[in-house]
Subunit: 234 residues, 2 copies
DNA sequence: CGTAGAGTTGACGGGAATCAAAAGTAGTGG
DNA sequence: CCACTACTTTTGATTCCCGTCAACTCTACG
């Protein structure tokens, strides 16, 4: 039993598997596979909010699993416009890529703790371990599906639909309560949805006026009319 | 040597490998793997333009390789809004998915010919064939990367940038000539870029007025100022 | 030649971006 | 504890890019 295993177990026990959302199955399969067959690089890393974990173009020789906190992966245009591809939470794997370089950059959204794995190690093991290679494949396919769903949102949904979709998606990451706690700023939400902070803010205010949500604080959102929200989620 | 192999070879020989674009490496690796290890289901299929190959939710027990023609894979919102995820050309694999159901639908853009493979067969083989399973993984990762790039375009680029990006992307699919032939309608382009047909049309007209392209016909586009176009491709 | 679908162009309006400023929140140090 | 600062968020005013609606042109095809 390695240190990583112990850490992983305790981290996993802190969260209800039923509420992790649709990615939980594949993610946890993969995670379990890594735990069974791998040792970590020996380092458990901490990152303060907004710290870069890796940048676009960096060597992709390690990948990460989140112990606690939230991480965003994103791409940039030359003039600084940013698109956040995904928010990753406790238990998620991120940064595993086929090429030599990271195609996205990863940054800590909140204070967070991650474990790093050596990619080479996993690949060597996957060659002989069928279960692990299936999990890797599953991980890749799942992320592909996620990116495709996100394309539909970005290309074809209105601002309200985008914000509602985000709220519903994020609600699955939180304990099964009516109130969700957002780890990210309005800027993060905007860059995830292809909007501006002002539009995100206005849309949330409008949803509150329409009695669908309640903004206890800017980061604490309570669902007042889940049915109506789901109806807006085309 | 199976029939499928012969067909694939002749199809592959009809195209210059150097001009297929960035996906060629992984796609052809995967294709080669399938050819070496698989027989087809016995059917080479033809589809007329706009014919559905499979729909969202259909059983994903077969996947396809394109012999000739162009295929689009897309998702729909309940009210009919459509987002095209990708256009697939000769040699491309599409429809390989991890779940029991297709998450996207696939339709013929032009008259096209495809070969169908049994997914079960590939999966069984991948278990024992390390090379094949690596190719499957590579295929999945590559599609993931493509979808992520597309998200940046959809979420953060202007209409002109989108259209230019499309032209440059599509130019890689055609022989290395200044003129490219589009297989798809303006509606297809619009649904790929998250725009309307009018905006696509207007943008192309503007690019022509700016002497960057020339519309020989609506579907034949000549690059007059490639450098300027690439400059617009943020 | 006539019809139907694809594409272009124009007029107009609206939804989201931009510009600008106020209000809320958090952290710091006296 | 409270002023002081910096940042995040909200709200308002205005702009503008792109969508919508509509008419016209072009091409393909029987």
């Amino acid at each position: 039993m390695s240190t990583s295993l112990a850490i992983s177990r305790s981290a996993a026990s802190a969260v209800d598997p039923a509420v992790i959302g649709r990615s939980s199955k594949h993610q946890s399969d993969f995670k379990a596979g890594c735990e069974r067959t791998l040792s970590t690089t020996g380092s458990v890393l901490h990152f303060a909010p907004d710290r870069e974990i890796y940048g676009e173009g960096d060597d992709a020789d390690t990948f990460f699993k989140i112990v606690s906190g939230v991480v965003r992966t994103c791409k940039f245009l030359s003039d600084g416009r940013r698109q956040i591809e995904a928010f990753h939470v406790e238990g998620d794997i991120f940064g595993f890529e086929p090429g030599a370089e990271h195609r996205l950059s990863a940054e800590a959204v909140s204070e967070c703790t991650v474990i790093s794995y050596r990619r080479r190690g996993v690949e060597r093991l996957a060659a002989s371990n069928e279960a692990l290679s299936q999990q890797l494949f599953s991980y890749a396919m799942h992320n592909m599906a996620r990116a495709q769903d996100h394309s539909l949102l970005l290309g074809r949904k209105s601002a309200v639909e985008k914000v509602v979709a985000f709220l519903i998606e994020w609600a699955d990451h939180a304990p099964r309560s009516a109130t969700i706690a957002l780890a990210m700023t309005r800027q993060d939400i905007a860059d995830y949805l292809g909007l501006t902070i002002e539009t995100v803010s206005r849309t949330l205010s409008q949803l509150e006026r329409d009695a669908m949500i309640e903004l206890s604080t800017a980061r604490q959102i309570r669902f007042r009319d889940p049915a109506a929200l789901r109806a807006l989620n085309a």
